[in-house]
């Protein structure tokens, strides 16, 4: 269907639209008009993605003169594929209505691991080795060598791509990763480099968060994007954590050992070069004198480029004299590694600010701040000069240089924490030095500055006013939408008491109480007897899950269960079997951990999750030094109270967990928050509004047997057939005519 929103004709590929999708589009349209940033919360299962895509592409179509571009960031490859598939449907629809002028180029960009078609390279097990494998075949010096010596292996796909040169373009259309690979295979062009090349021409680019947020890769991929681009962060409820992770580094003993080894290899290489071809090193030296910025015209495969998070002047400045010579740079790095390992030998937990750290570093090891700042770029320059291709071997020294650059660059928003052992296992010495970033706005600031509109959207962004403060920006629109439902298909409950009326909680002083553990066990057991098919049960942490399962096992109240572990393969297998058990009618329980992989990425829709039990409030480990440091920083800088942030963080995790069960409006599911703390207003009110609106007052303070009864009634009610379009007064699906009527009405309202 197509309809008008203000002055934009929106092409929507389906015959019906949900009212909330319509409102969502209106808000989006306003954001784009205002050229500002926005925050929108809309529950999952309401077709957020398609609403976004269809409005933005339609907006571009209506303004053909503007070079607007959509950059869509997803968290996982799976989501990327889903988004592209939706876009494809939309694109076909637009072509059908508008003809060839609606043609756009949309591509997904991912790592080599997902895009490579060379069978020998892609066989490697992890991402870094695929990258290194690719470099071994495509680096410029390897290819130069190969032109003389036919025995040197090259990648035929890349060669073909290079040969085709400017002729290597993708015809307009929507390409999923799969299709990109197929296209590359068919033409014999390397899909990865093709995609990277096409990014600057594409109208829609779908890729992962890292490409924009992680300074290490953002430079390569995203520097070509125009200012007019619209950036969308989907499922962005954890965006602050992503930002922080992108700028945090941790150094362990292993890293240092690896770095020492790397250094000795580099020095061997240097000696070898000195013996054979000293001119290369001299050329590098000269280049460095002129400044790093001039390095930009290297061929794309060798291009490493830099931090957009770094101040611009760094790129223009010349590298300080004491690290221009390769040997001198190695000495500096050696001293740095030595100093770090000396610091790691400490017996106590230490916390320091970057400024203090740099000061002590310069007094003990004689390395000043400016030198530190350049480590990252200097190392890469050196590695290019030395023609090192197996970059995955050199991760350790890269980590060290990363660390050095960050310490040298930022004085605020970071802290350095040295812990001699893990808090939870004080007997095993495992010293770790962490440079942790506290300020999520540092990594995302360039994105906000650079692009005209940034949209942050997710199913759970409540409380919505906290995000602008955390990320330090000013949205023009921030709104939260609820779901219009034909029936009350979600049933959240807060369970505060066990069957023996004793309160249940995972509060620290109560969690190991056998009574509480028994009550949780009983709750699960009774729920299993009334809920068919799949049940998902989330715990606050792995250690608590292990503990409670052991206790249950000893008291013999377990049955068919599957457990998420930290091992990915094992978890996948467990999930697979869990699905099978649900399919075959056996029924099963899946134990998982909030903040785990399952809670973030796996859907338990339909019969795979009729009930989700959230045992406890998933607070972060509050004694962790990093968290404490971050909280302190937040309080001092953004005036966010510790308690507020902790609750916010815990509740968004909880909402994320329970949101796994509802993925569409036809679905139904129950959610049990099993902790007495959920009944307090300050906690509860931070849940997203689409859950809150279904949380009845009567269900706020339940005991096990009351919850059981409600569950029974709910399941029976939901099993009844129902009318999908909703009754006349509560329309949940709008056809074109109804929408037009609504459009007139809402215009009217808005003019008031």
């Amino acid at each position: 269907m197509k309809f008008l929103i203000e002055d934009v004709t929106v092409y929507f590929p389906y015959d019906h639209i949900y009212p909330e999708q319509y409102c969502y589009m209106i808000e989006l349209k306003r954001t784009l008009d205002a050229k500002g940033h926005c925050l929108l919360e809309m529950p999952t299962g309401t077709g957020k993605t398609i609403a976004l895509l269809s409005l933005i592409t339609s907006y571009c179509l209506s303004k053909p003169q503007s070079p607007m571009k959509l950059i869509y960031c997803t968290r996982t490859v799976h989501e990327m594929e889903k988004t592209l598939a939706e876009l494809k449907i939309l694109h076909n629809y637009q072509i059908k209505h508008l003809g060839p002028q609606a043609r756009i180029l949309a591509i997904g960009l991912s790592s080599r691991k997902n895009l490579c078609v060379n069978p020998t390279v892609v066989a490697a097990e992890n991402r870094d080795s695929v990258d290194a494998g690719c470099r071994k075949l495509t680096a410029s010096w390897v290819r130069a060598l190969a032109s003389e010596n036919p025995d040197v292996a090259m990648c035929e796909f890349f060669e073909n791509y290079e040969k085709a040169a400017s002729a290597a373009v993708l015809p307009p259309g929507v390409y999923t990763l799969q299709e990109l690979r197929a296209f590359g295979k068919e033409k014999g062009w390397c899909p990865y480099f093709l995609a990277r090349h096409m990014v600057q021409f594409a109208n829609v680019v779908v890729y992962s968060y890292q490409y924009l947020l992680d300074p290490k890769v953002a430079g390569i991929i995203s520097k070509e994007m125009q200012k007019e681009s619209v950036v969308v962060f989907d499922e962005a409820h954890n965006i602050d954590n992503v930002c922080i992770e992108a700028l945090s580094v941790s150094v362990r003993r292993k890293t240092l050992e690896g770095a020492t080894w790397n250094l000795s290899r580099i020095s061997q290489e240097i000696d070898r070069f000195k013996a054979t071809d000293a001119s290369i090193l001299r050329a590098e030296y000269n280049r460095l004198v002129e400044g790093l910025a001039l390095r930009g015209n290297l061929p794309i495969t060798d291009n490493w480029l830099s931090n957009p998070a770094l101040p611009d002047d760094i790129l223009k400045e010349a590298v300080p004299g004491n690290i221009r010579r390769a040997e001198h740079f190695l000495h500096v790095l050696r001293r740095l590694v030595q100093y770090l390992s000396g610091r790691l030998d400490t017996e106590n937990v230490e916390k320091e600010s970057p400024v203090g750290f740099v000061a002590s570093l310069s007094s003990h090891a004689g390395i000043d701040q400016k030198t530190l700042k350049f480590c990252y770029d200097r190392l890469h320059s050196l590695m290019l000069t030395l023609e090192i291709t197996d970059t995955d071997e050199f991760l350790h020294i890269q980590t060290i240089c990363d660390f050095a650059t960050l310490v040298g660059t930022y004085g605020r928003g970071f802290s350095i924490i040295i812990e001699p052992f893990d808090e939870r296992m004080p007997h095993i010495p495992d010293p770790v030095l962490q440079l942790s970033c506290h300020d999520a706005s540092l990594a995302i600031k360039p994105v906000f500055d650079r692009f005209q509109s940034v949209l942050i959207t997710s199913g759970t962004l409540s409380p919505i006013d906290l995000y602008p403060r955390l990320l330090n920006f000013h949205p023009v629109v921030s709104r939260s939408f609820t779901m219009s439902l034909t029936r009350d298909c979600i049933c959240p409950m807060v369970l505060t008491r066990g069957s023996d009326q004793l309160p249940v909680s995972t509060k620290f002083d109560m969690r190991s109480d056998p009574g509480v553990v028994r009550n949780y066990g009983k709750l699960l057991l009774e729920m299993v007897s009334v809920v068919p098919d799949g049940i998902v049960c989330f715990f606050v942490s792995y250690s608590y899950m292990d503990g409670i399962i052991n206790t249950w096992n000893d008291s013999g109240i377990l049955k068919l269960v599957f457990i998420e572990t930290q091992d990915v393969v094992e978890t996948t297998l467990a999930l697979d079997n869990y699905r099978r058990a649900c399919d075959s009618g056996r029924g099963a329980v899946f134990f998982s951990v909030a903040r785990g992989k399952v809670a973030e990425g796996i859907d338990f829709d339909r019969h795979y999750g009729r009930l989700v039990i959230m045992i406890g409030v998933p607070f972060q480990y509050t004694l962790s030094k990093i968290l404490l440091a971050r909280l302190e920083y937040l309080r001092d800088t953004f005036q966010i109270k510790e308690g507020d942030f902790l609750t916010f963080d815990a509740l968004r995790q909880a909402a994320q967990c329970v949101g796994r069960v509802i993925r569409s409006k036809a679905d139904y599911g129950m959610m049990i928050f099993a902790d007495k703390r959920y009944s307090r207003h300050d906690k509860r009110s931070k849940l997203p509004s689409w859950i809150l609106s279904h949380l009845q007052d009567a269900n706020l303070n339940l005991s096990t047997d009351m919850a059981l009864h409600i569950a029974r009634e709910f399941l029976k009610k939901m099993a009844q057939p129902y009318d999908k379009t909703g009754s006349s007064d509560k329309k949940t699906l709008l056809s074109q005519e109804e929408l037009e009527k609504l459009g007139d009405g809402s215009m009217h309202e808005m003019s008031y």
Binding site: S499, D583, D705, D723
Partner: protein, 403 residues
Amino acid sequence: MNNGAGRRINGAAEEDDDEDDVNGDLDAWERTYTDERSWESLQEDESGMLRPIDNQALYHSQYRRRLRSLSSTAARIQKGLIRYLYIVIDLSRAASEMDFRPSRIAVIAKHVETFIREFFYQNPLSQVGIVTIKDGVAHCLTDIGGSPESHINALMKKLECSGDSSLQNALDLVDGYLNQIPSYGHREVLILYSALSTCDPGDIMDTIQKCRKSKIRCSVIGLAAEMFICKHLCQETGGTYSVALDESHFKELILEHAPPPPAIAEFAVANLIKMGFPQRAAEGSISICSCHKEAKVGAGYTCPRCKARACELPTECCVCGLTLVSSPHLARSYHHLFPIAPFDEVTSSHLNNPNCKLQRNCFGCQQSLLDPGNKPGPAVVCPKCKRMRPADMHQLLLVTTLL
């Protein structure tokens, strides 16, 4: 439907109950309250008054749905008149639960009895068998046959519940039996399922495909909640899946299976069947009955081909295997092919309109169309003669009359 609001419970009272639940030693008067939860059949209206839960809307929507399904079948549709139906009753542990009064199994048994009688009344040419699931094993309680009494008697004797339930075992067993029946008969299974899981020896998906291949129509009525596997089974084999809300709803659901379903298209080949119309023997004549193997006096039927005596109709002759029916049976089956047309609904505003010269009383029963509160209830009008009847009456006509 905001039944949830009705669940607003006085916290203190509830706590008492719960403690008692735990202690397990309740007085009889207490038990009636904890078991029945009579407060839950009340709900609060807008002004805070308590009133019984209003299921009117629900029933009305069900009525509409039935009408719709009827109107969609109003076109010439083939119906399987000769049905071979197995009723599978789940006697697992879950069937002994007490959420239906007095227990699930008692309710099931009671309504299966009504169903079997109703079934034979509407489908005199069809036959029924009963299978039970208990301890994960399926048993054939009665072989397929045409006598309601024998099925009911057999069922009433075996109502103990225990163990797990296995859908696959039951389907395998039924599939084995139904494969033997003649090709003109329609194979159906009605599963009354109490459990919420199934413990199967093998892959149930294979069994479902097998049922589908042998054209067995499987329908399930659940007593607790919707199960994926049951839904899948019904979808695959063309049956219906429903879940009972309470006892009366259960009764309604099970009786919906009494009228013959539309025939599966590819299976609906027209067939000629040989039948005999036996004569009723003269009063006082003595003969040896072929079904009970004993001498009986009077009131029997004589097979027109081999002259053997049968006690009741319809049946199959024990000697020559001829299907014995009487002509009223045929006529009764026949009416399913021509259902009465759906009536038009009359809106209440229409009824209240004083200018409108519609009658205020039902044409059939002469009762007022207005509810006791002088509010007009739902009414319908016959499209042919334009006479009004209340909506319930139309339902009655649809379900029971053999016009």
